[in-house]
C-alpha cells in the first residue's frame, strides 16, 4: 500500500461525505453501546463479568472519542458532536435505541451488535485514508475480547435453563434485523470501496457478518433469525430508518449533561 491519503480534504469529493457518515455512525454507536454496557457494570451475574463489563464499556467509550476526534479533519467540532446533540441527531445503530433491561439483552448486544461494529471497522483496517487506518488497529485488538465475551456468554445462556435460552433467543431476534439493515443496501458504499476507503460494500459486509455470527448463534443452540430486508425508509447518511434516536436518558448521560457545570470551556460559540 502507498502512503495513502493523509487529509480528508484530499479524499475524492464524492466519497468524503460518505466516509464522514460511516465514521460518525461508528462513533455514535460506540458511544451509546458504552453507555448501555455501563448500566451492567455492577449488575452482571458474577464478579469477573462485572469487571469485564466495566472494561469493555470503557473500551467503547475510548473508541468513540478516537473516532469523534478524527471527524475534526472533516470540519466537524468534536466537542459539539460529543456534548451538544439531540437524540434525533445521533446516527447510532437502531439496535441500540433501547436500554438493556436484562442480562440476556446485554449478552445479545455484546455478541451481535458489537460484532457488527467490528465487521465495519475491519473493512476500514486497510483504508487508503491513513488517519482512519491508524486508529482502527488498536480498536480491533480490544474488540477481539469483546467478541469472545459475547460469544461465550451466548453459549452459556444457550446451554442454561429453558427460560435463559428463550430470553437469549428473544434478545437476538430483537436486534438481528436492525443490524442487517445497518449495513445498508447491497451496493451501499461501492464507490468508497472502489476508492480504496473500505474493502466491502453493504451486501459484502452483511454477508461477512452473517457468516461470522451463524456458527456463534447455532453453536449456542439458538436459531439465526430470518429477516426480510426492506430499505424503503432507510436513510444512507444516518444508516437508520427512524430518526427518533437512542433513549434520551442514555443520550443525556453520553453528552455528560449532569457534569456540564464542570466542563472546561474553550470558547463560547457565536450566537
Amino acid at each position: 500500500m502507498t502512503d495513502g491519503i493523509r487529509s480528508a480534504a484530499d479524499l475524492p469529493e464524492e466519497s468524503r461525505q460518505a466516509l464522514h457518515d460511516t465514521i460518525l455512525s461508528l462513533a455514535d454507536s460506540k458511544r451509546i453501546i458504552g453507555i448501555l454496557y455501563a448500566d451492567w457494570v455492577l449488575g452482571a451475574p458474577e464478579l469477573e463479568a462485572n469487571i469485564a463489563t466495566s472494561s469493555i464499556s470503557q473500551d467503547e467509550w475510548g473508541h468513540s472519542r478516537l473516532l469523534y476526534a478524527l471527524l475534526k479533519d472533516f470540519g466537524e467540532e468534536p466537542e459539539k458532536l460529543e456534548h451538544a446533540r439531540e437524540p434525533s441527531e445521533y446516527c447510532s445503530i437502531e439496535a441500540l435505541d433501547q436500554r438493556l433491561a436484562t442480562w440476556p439483552e446485554f449478552v445479545a448486544t455484546n455478541a451481535i451488535v458489537d460484532t457488527a461494529l467490528t465487521v465495519q471497522l475491519e473493512a476500514l483496517a486497510n483504508s487508503c485514508y491513513t488517519p482512519l487506518r491508524q486508529r482502527v488497529q488498536k480498536q480491533l485488538e480490544e474488540e477481539r475480547f469483546h467478541e469472545a465475551h459475547g460469544a461465550a456468554w451466548l453459549r452459556r445462556l444457550g446451554s442454561s435453563s429453558d427460560a435463559a435460552r428463550a430470553a437469549a433467543q428473544e434478545a437476538v431476534n430483537a436486534r438481528w434485523s436492525h443490524v442487517l439493515h445497518w449495513f445498508g443496501p447491497d451496493d451501499f458504499g461501492t464507490g468508497e470501496k472502489e476508492a480504496g476507503l473500505t474493502d466491502g460494500n453493504g451486501g459484502e459486509l452483511r454477508a461477512r457478518f452473517i457468516d461470522r455470527m451463524t456458527p456463534v448463534i447455532e453453536g449456542a443452540g439458538l436459531e439465526v433469525p430470518s429477516t426480510r430486508l426492506d430499505f424503503s425508509d432507510w436513510e444512507s447518511a444516518s444508516r437508520r430508518s427512524q430518526r427518533t434516536g437512542p433513549d434520551p436518558e442514555a443520550v443525556a448521560r453520553a453528552r455528560g449533561d449532569r457534569n456540564r457545570a464542570f466542563f472546561v470551556e474553550t470558547a463560547e460559540p457565536e450566537k
Partner: protein, 79 residues
C-alpha cells in the same frame, strides 16, 4: 455449565519467565481468557495464559495452595 477456577500466568517481556498473577472463575476456557485479560490489565502483557487449576498436581506438599482437593471453587487464591 460448571464454574471452574483458572490460574492466570503472564509475562511482561519475551525474555521474562511466566509469573503466577492470580486466578479467575469461569464456565469455559474462552470466558476465562477474557476475564483474565480484563481483570489483570495493569500491565501491557507480552503473553498471558490460563489453565484450569485442577490440572495442577502438587509435588512436594499436599497442603500447598494448589492442592485443590482441600478447597472449594470459591476459595480465594492464596498462592
Amino acid at each position: 455449565m460448571a464454574e471452574q477456577v483458572y490460574v492466570v500466568f503472564a509475562r511482561k517481556n519475551r525474555e521474562d519467565p511466566l509469573h503466577h498473577i492470580g486466578s479467575v472463575q469461569a464456565s469455559d476456557p474462552e470466558l476465562a481468557k477474557v476475564y483474565a485479560w480484563k481483570t489483570y490489565d495493569e500491565e501491557r502483557w507480552f503473553e498471558m495464559v490460563v489453565a484450569p487449576r485442577d490440572t495442577f498436581y502438587p509435588v512436594n506438599r499436599e497442603e500447598a495452595p494448589f492442592d485443590i482437593s482441600r478447597r472449594s471453587a470459591n476459595s480465594p487464591e492464596v498462592a
